[in-house]
């Protein structure tokens, strides 16, 4: 009796190094370029520009946006030995002009022309593994390739009986250094869509925290905040000067150097209380002053309720 054909899994063709997180708000062609280049760099054996052109031609024929927020750009290539998969994730969404839609998860598939069924099998496997909406939502929020890889290969794990901060944290948060300039901080806030950024030194010790309000505060001096009603002030244009000297202003000049951290083993319920009562958006987890990770309220809720 012939052995039953083994079921194809995404993990068979996906390596952690071929996952790109935080791609930002970029157009589809740029995202495809990056993912193809990633495969070319890590695996190779194909014509990079040819692959980009083929994927984009296919995309123009018919959009590969399958469901809201998920696209599977693909192409069949000559000379490939086996299928290749790369994943791109974007919090802000990659713009697909054909659908006028923002896509958070891109799964780029390149299959050998010599194996016409490979693409269908892979698409079927991907569709199956991403059929759960909760998994798609969590995948879209992943900040690190390892986190995304774990989700794509092992799926959503169950919530442990004793959920602690470590289970919910982002282990590779965006950070800045004290000596970084204002331009770097603005980029982190606006391009990477962060609300609170830990400030660390070269050894990874936490030196402070930067909230997006601090950026605003830099341009809105304290003495204006004493007034209850600022609506009569119509000629307030502080930002030109602020931007003119953004390379002179260092993160150390406006970060908050008083902050609280929590132990990674803090129970999740304590985190929930702090989110509710203290009004914090993000909690830094530290061991011996070293930043271990962060838990923000968005990820906290997503992991608890979308899981």
């Amino acid at each position: 009796m012939a052995a039953a054909a083994r079921e194809i899994k995404v993990s068979d063709y996906l390596a952690e190094g071929n996952i790109l997180c935080r791609m930002g708000n970029i157009p589809a062609h740029e995202a495809v370029d990056r993912l193809v280049s990633l495969l070319f760099m890590h695996v190779g054996g194909f014509d990079r520009q040819g692959a980009i052109d083929s994927v984009m031609e296919r995309e123009q024929l018919d959009s590969t946006v399958l469901i809201e927020g998920l696209a599977l750009p693909h192409a069949r290539m000559d000379g490939l030995q086996q299928p290749m998969v790369a994943v791109g994730l974007s919090h802000e969404g990659v713009y697909f002009p054909e659908n006028n839609e923002l896509v958070r998860i891109l799964i780029l598939v390149l299959t050998p022309k010599s194996d016409p069924s490979a693409y269908l099998k892979l698409v079927s496997a991907i569709s199956k593994s991403l059929s759960e909406e909760s998994l798609r939502l969590r995948l879209g929020l992943c900040d690190t390739p390892s986190e995304a890889y774990a989700l794509l290969t092992a799926g959503v794990r169950g919530i442990p009986a004793h959920l602690v901060a470590r289970d919910l944290m982002n282990a590779q948060p965006v950070t800045v250094r004290e000596e970084d300039d204002l331009a770097t901080a603005i980029s982190a806030f606006c391009v990477q869509r962060q609300m609170d950024i830990p400030v660390v030194d070269e050894t990874g010790d936490i030196r402070g925290v930067l909230a997006i309000e601090d950026l605003l505060h830099l341009s809105l001096p304290e003495h204006f905040l004493w007034m209850e009603d600022l609506t009569p002030i119509v000629n307030f244009q502080p930002f030109a000067e602020l931007l003119r000297k953004d390379h002179e202003t260092k993160v150390a000049d406006f970060m908050r150097d008083r902050f609280t951290t929590m132990d990674p083993e803090t129970p999740a319920i304590q985190l929930a209380k702090d989110f509710l009562k203290s009004g914090v958006r993000q909690i830094m987890l530290a061991e011996n002053d070293k930043l271990i990770g962060v838990v923000n309220v968005q990820n906290f809720v997503a992991q608890l309720f979308w899981a």
Binding site: F224, M227, I233, N235, F236, D253
Partner: protein, 515 residues
């Protein structure tokens, strides 16, 4: 802020050691007062008052708790009764302060302080020295108009902002402004809680302050500004350079905006006019001395709370420092017990024995004693204790210059140490929070003691020169009819054997103040 730090800063061991020391010293002083001829209730009153002094030294964060317990002990030991507790708590003074705090809240809301800060920063052709001088003088005058703590909070914010822009350490400029704020707080009754307390005790009007205290304050202020700017001359040069460099690059200190200020200026103007004309209004309506003065802020606050009714509850709940006011109230009551039981009579008697009746001696002695005392203890505590003694002295010598000496000693003495006044503590707390820098006790003491000495010398010289021109006030003590409950008070403990108080022939009940 400072309180929270202290609360968390004391270990259990330290707490117990300090508590035992407080109890031991207070009881010891109580027993020792027997040597001065004091009877039991006088000893209790002395011990409780001394515990308040030590409490504000050792347990700043718990001073209110100690005051609660002190009042409890005085009542339980029958050293004070409820009617006299209520009378001595100086409720009108407390309500005056409540009214002023609400007005300050409204002024902040309406942009008055924003306008002042924006005005200072926007001075044309500003230089470092000009900026520091204007800021220092503004902090003093603002203290006169509102109060020293409010003034320093707003001025310190301005300094932090400018120093952050210029990448300078704010410490020297903060010290200059705090020293000037304390000096400025002696200029009017609103500058410092001791001002209104002394005003009501001595029967001084707002005009008296403007006529006698304000000029002395201005001369002392000029000397303090000159001295501190010379002391920090290197920092002045640095400020000058940095500011010039920034101005040369066409960078401003803050965004230039036009702050709406007219409504706030009207509120302040209306309040000041009400307070300034209290004497005339009292005459016109046939009211008791200072009654219009004490209710003027309440009337203004009432109008504000009607006009800005959506913020009324916020003002009362958040702008009024109930913690401090409660402490003042209990402190006045405890100090009043010293008077009620005749302790102040004993002290005044000994004071006269040692220093005589010569005002040329009494003025510097009172000023120096109060200044040194205020350097380490809350000046309100010290003034509350000293006021009845001066009232006693007023029986035999002209008291007016002595009251002024008490005022200047209490306000200028606050400059000696970094814990000398609430403004110092608030400003240093802000400094630590904003720039994570602390001022060492000795660093402050050098310039603080020097500037305090200079200001006190000026005040002493001017008082010595002017005291013969000062009209003697008919204080509320002499004018006030003996209250109906005097009969009860006469039977109260301590009053029938007031010990040394009788050395200048006084019945402590008769001279109780009704403010």
């Amino acid at each position: 802020m400072a309180e929270a730090e202290e609360t968390t800063g004391i270990s259990a061991g330290q707490f117990i050691r300090r508590l035992l020391l407080l109890l031991g010293l207070s009881v010891g002083v109580g027993f020792a007062s027997r040597l001065l001829g004091m009877e039991v209730h006088q000893q209790v009153a002395t011990a409780v008052f001394f515990s308040i002094i030590l409490g504000s030294l050792f347990f700043w964060a718990f001073r209110l708790a100690i005051a609660f317990l002190g009042i409890g002990i005085l009542i339980v030991t029958n050293s004070l009764n409820i009617p006299h507790f209520v009378e001595a708590a100086a409720l009108p003074v407390i309500l005056f302060l409540v009214g002023m705090m609400i007005i300050v809240g409204a002024l902040r809301d309406l942009g008055f302080f924003t306008w002042i800060v924006q005005g200072i920063i926007s001075i044309p052709n500003i230089t470092g020295r000009k900026f520091v001088m204007v800021t220092a003088v503004a902090s003093a005058l603002l203290a006169c108009a509102v109060d020293e703590v409010t003034s320093i909070i707003f001025i310190a914010t301005l300094i932090f902002q400018v120093c952050q822009r210029l990448k300078l350490s704010p410490t020297p400029y903060i010290i200059i402004c705090v020293l000037c704020t304390n000096v400025g707080s002696a200029g009017t009754m609103m500058g410092n809680p001791v001002g209104i307390f002394i005003g009501t005790q001595a029967g001084f009007s707002f005009e008296d302050f403007i006529y006698w205290a304000f000029p002395i304050m201005l001369v002392s202020l000029a000397a303090t500004v000159a001295l501190t700017m010379f002391w920090y001359r290197r920092e002045m040069d640095e400020f000058q350079e940095r500011l010039k460099e920034r101005m040369d690059r066409n960078l401003s200190l803050v965004p230039k905006v036009k702050v709406p200020y007219k409504r706030s200026l009207f509120v302040l103007g209306f309040t000041l006019v009400m307070i300034a004309s209290h004497h005339q209004l009292e005459h016109a309506f046939g009211l008791g001395p200072n009654s219009m003065l004490l209710v003027a802020p309440l009337i203004c606050a009432g109008v504000i709370m009607i006009v800005r009714r959506q913020r009324a509850r916020y003002y009362v709940e958040h702008e009024v420092d109930w913690w401090t006011l409660l402490f003042f109230m209990l402190l006045f009551a405890i100090a009043g017990t010293l008077e009620y039981t005749g302790v102040t009579g004993v002290l005044a008697g000994h004071f006269v024995k040692v220093f005589g009746h010569d005002q040329r001696v009494l003025i510097p002695v009172i000023m120096a004693t109060t200044a040194i005392g205020s350097a380490f203890v809350d000046n309100v505590v010290f003034v509350a204790a000293f006021a009845p003694v001066i009232k006693e002295l007023g029986r035999t010598v002209a008291a007016t210059p002595l009251w002024w000496a008490l005022l200047f000693g209490a306000c200028f003495g606050g400059n000696i140490t970094l814990i000398g006044s609430t403004a110092n503590i608030v400003a240093l707390g802000m400094l630590e929070k904003q720039s994570r820098s602390t001022v060492r006790f000795l660093d402050w003491l050098k310039i603080g003691a020097l500037s305090s000495l200079l200001a006190c010398l000026i005040a002493w010289g001017m008082l010595a020169a002017l005291h013969s021109y000062m009209p003697e006030k008919s204080t509320a003590v002499r004018e006030a009819p003996v209250p109906a409950e005097a009969g009860h008070a006469a039977a109260a403990p301590g009053t029938h054997e007031s010990g040394g108080g009788s050395s200048i022939g006084l019945d402590p009940v008769a001279e109780r103040v009704s403010i």
